[in-house]
């Protein structure tokens, strides 16, 4: 099957990006190099093409109560123009996807879904909505592109793009809030969210205006202010901040409690799909917990490498890489919290050699999202 291309494919070729298959998509993995790009985001700002992500609309008078039933977080706490991190679960508590839901208005919700799960999420929500009144679900992904602008200079970069009338609103846009903006004649949505641990924004754009927006962002600033960033650096950035990647750190065999997102799981709210399973799991005691570790010896941990406590295999690495800002290498693994915790030493089998690592507090890099 031909890989899917985002509307920015030609721009990536112009910038001589290294392109790689990512699921169904052909995406830029790097432009100037993963380490240089990672540094640029932490020190100035970076521009990511994340148009492969999915956009699902949930509309209607019944949308709020539907989403309250389908997700782990408390949707009733949202106001117009605010969003929250959440997840949809199977009845057995396994995660279908992690999402961000924005309430645009009382009866209009905008969901950002993982690229690899968009069709699955849409099918699930559509199927579940059959037993609800006044709710329509639309998979709107083909109409939207998405850009992320992340880093200490991201606000300046985005402000330069906006009409004067929107710049005031940008000043007052708090973390997790979303606002509408006109860009190149298109109705865009600007959210103060991100996946890097830095101050940043995610722009949802009609596909017709995304190329103009990409070019404008790179041209109004120089490379000392903003640079194109690929998926390679996206992964090292999010891993340092201990943000999760569905497919690596969670899948439908792990619950949000095990994955470490109990902070987004409101067990006190009314019933939701998967709640009973989570309540039972919590009362029985969690036996697998996603923990962060840093290597004490040379070697780079990777997905699926086995973690040992002494001679016993006790878990597997879910995500691992070099940690360019934090230093050294490290990652995440599901381990039994009854046996190990922060400070414990484990070894990781890296291509046949056991290398020492230590469990540490999350996050590896403290997010600066407040700006």
């Amino acid at each position: 099957m031909e890989p899917r291309k985002t509307p920015l494919y030609e721009q990536h070729k112009i910038l001589k990006a290294k392109m790689v298959p990512f699921g169904d998509w052909l995406m830029p993995v790097s432009y100037s190099g993963v380490l240089a790009e990672h540094k640029a985001v932490r020190e100035t700002s970076g521009l990511f093409d994340v148009s492969h992500m999915g956009e699902i609309l949930v509309n209607g008078k019944g949308a709020e109560s539907f989403l309250q039933k389908m997700t782990i977080n408390d949707v009733t706490r949202l106001k117009d123009g605010s969003g929250q991190y959440t997840a949809i679960l199977q009845p057995d508590g396994g995660m279908i996807d992690d999402l961000i839901i924005y309430r645009l208005e009382k009866s209009r919700y905008f969901i950002c879904a993982n690229a690899s799960n968009t069709d699955k999420d849409y099918a699930w929500l559509k199927q579940q909505s059959a037993s609800f009144q006044d709710v329509t679900i639309v998979n709107d992904s083909t109409h939207w592109g998405q850009l992320a602008v992340q880093g200490p200079k991201s606000k300046t970069a985005v402000a330069a793009l906006l009409p004067e009338s929107s710049r005031q609103a940008l000043e007052h846009l708090n973390y997790m809030e979303i606002m509408g903006v006109m860009l190149f004649g298109g109705n865009a949505l600007l959210a103060r969210t991100g996946y890097t641990g830095e101050l940043g924004y995610e722009l949802y754009l009609p596909t017709e205006v995304i190329e103009k927006t990409w070019i404008a962002l790179l041209e109004t600033q120089g490379t000392s202010q903003i640079q194109p960033i690929g998926l390679g650096a996206r992964d090292t950035l999010r891993l340092e901040a201990c943000y999760l990647l569905y497919g690596s750190d969670m899948n439908d065999t792990f619950s949000p409690l095990e994955a470490g997102i109990s902070w987004a799981t409101k067990l006190a709210k009314s019933d939701f799909v998967g709640k009973a399973a989570l309540v039972a799991q919590k009362s029985a005691g969690i036996t697998r917990s996603l923990m962060a570790f840093r290597m004490l010896e040379d070697g780079i941990p990777r997905h699926d490498m086995v973690v040992y406590q002494g001679l016993e295999a006790v878990g597997k690495v879910t995500s691992g890489s070099v940690l360019p800002t934090v230093g050294g290498a490290g990652g995440l693994a599901y381990l039994d919290p009854r046996n190990v915790g922060v400070g414990a030493e484990v070894t990781i089998d890296i291509r046949g050699k056991r290398k020492l690592a230590r469990l540490v507090e999350k996050p590896l890099y403290k997010a600066k999202i407040k700006g």
Binding site: V29, S30, G33, L35, T236, I300, S321, A329, R351
Partner: protein, 129 residues
């Protein structure tokens, strides 16, 4: 891409600088360009012996790990610890200071498996996207 004329090359993108008895081995600028940022290198110990074509170490980028293959048979007499300590240095200098191992050549190497600079350049051009 142009490659130093005085070196020999393999299809696995190693370069070889040999005399009758000793040789220096490294990876080419093309290999480094393909790998991206080099973050880790594992090399053998002095005294280890290898046959031609066998894996003697690994070179790792942010995304992938690649094996390093011996172009000719020999015994390791020196390992470039500076490169191991600062793997990113290979990116600016893969040929002179970027050598990875020095070996004592064993037997008579099979020259037919080695490419000269022009042939390697052609090989790389044919296999690039």
């Amino acid at each position: 891409m142009v490659f130093p004329a005085e070196l020999k090359y393999t299809k696995d993108h190693e370069w070889l600088d040999s005399t009758a008895n000793t040789a220096k081995i490294g990876v080419t600028a093309y290999a480094i360009e393909q790998l991206g940022d080099i973050v880790h290198i594992e090399l053998p110990k002095v005294g280890e012996t290898f046959t031609a074509g066998s894996a003697f170490g690994t070179i790792e980028s942010t995304k992938t790990v690649s094996d390093l293959y011996m172009p000719i048979a020999g015994k390791v007499v020196e390992v470039n610890q500076a490169a191991v300590g600062k793997p990113e240095s290979l990116q600016s200098d893969p040929y002179k200071n970027g050598w990875l191992v020095k070996i004592e050549v064993a037997g008579k190497p099979d020259q037919a498996a080695l490419l000269d600079a022009k042939s390697y350049e052609k090989y790389v051009a044919e296999h690039s996207d």
